[in-house]
Assembly symmetry: C4
Homo-oligomer: 126 residues x 4
């Protein structure tokens, strides 16, 4: 398929919350929140995340780069610069991209004996 | 990131239903439904929830306040004024906000031996 | 809240598939697919479902009524007229309503030792 | 219901990732990602999938046909031509259809002792 611009340059995930505690081998069973970002365009996507909290100022930007015609999976657990996202803490995420992308949010929760999963498209800002 | 208005002033969750029964330590494993609300604007969001039922008149308003540039996680289990939302009972929720916000709905169900989770963006009213 | 028209008159769920088999007490742990429908208007919603299959003609209409200012939870397992929806069989659902409604789709799967759940907004037809 | 055109001709799933490992009898408990596609139109839908990866060029097209007034459930695990989609590997999917369709994405994860499920509507390209 030829490169094409699909999606939006801004996306929102209000419901971040990395589960605290893991059952099973790491890293595949580590409890985590993650983003999946698709860039179908012919240009690299320069992406910045801003993280919002309940009781303090937003943190960021967290830079992410997704090459042309590639997707990228990013665990929020792995975002440490400028500041690690604390576990078991509600947060929200706003994503800005230099080119249109499509974004999905997923969670894996292995705090109890068997894993639980959830997923939703992020909210695209028109 | 500078304050900006993102989202909608009205959101709908048709599929509320707090699971009845919990396995595991409270409050982290308590079965619950919850809202995650992000307010990226520079103004406080004055929010009101209305709760609809299968067989009686709607209840509300349930007031919620989300400060400028903050997110908030709210468990439906904790909404008690004007009236606690009954467990194991289907309900729906309409949210009105004084400024645009983005809203995600999630459920944790620990009625059986390991937890189950689900999430979806709420439905934005244009 | 005063009655108001929110949502769409037509909604689609492509991914129906009632899990076959149940662990736990019925009916609360019965594996099922379900709809949650919210009618915030001042008029009764006369709703018809059409069910699509992989290898035979669509079935329907399945009539559902949701009173003014009420929500309704409907298990697909309970739809038997004109024809019960078979278990463990892929199906899709198109919903038509006489007034705007909002629709969410959920699944409970208890085929194994602990339940799994999933939910998503249905797809609104403009 | 008479045939009608519902949905979009292009859909995106950024967050593909087939879980590696299965507990329980196959094929019903096999860990998998799947698409559910509804074609309510009066014409056959000729569909092509393109699969994107993190570190190599996109693969495709993967052809799928959905007859008029039918739905189809497709496991990504079963897509082998032109190339099987590797397990435990992040991927994204863009779907093109000759007629409007509606698309839902689901995952079943049975890597641990009880299954986990997740579902979301795919992202429709306007």
């Amino acid at each position: 398929m030829k490169p094409q611009k699909i999606g939006s340059k801004q996306w929102v995930i209000p419901g971040g919350h990395i589960p605290f505690g893991t059952n099973g081998k790491e890293p595949e069973f580590t409890s985590h929140d993650r983003l999946s970002i698709l860039n179908t365009s012919g240009k690299e996507a320069d992406i910045e995340l801003t993280i919002y909290y309940q009781d303090r100022d937003p943190d960021g930007p967290y830079p992410i780069c997704v090459e042309a015609q590639r997707m990228k999976e990013v665990r929020f657990n792995d975002l440490i610069d400028p500041l690690a996202i604390p576990l078991d803490t509600p947060y929200a995420c706003v994503l800005h991209s230099s080119v249109p992308v499509v974004v999905q949010f997923s969670r894996q929760d292995t705090r109890q004996s068997a894993n639980a999963i959830a997923t939703t498209m992020a909210f695209p800002v028109a």
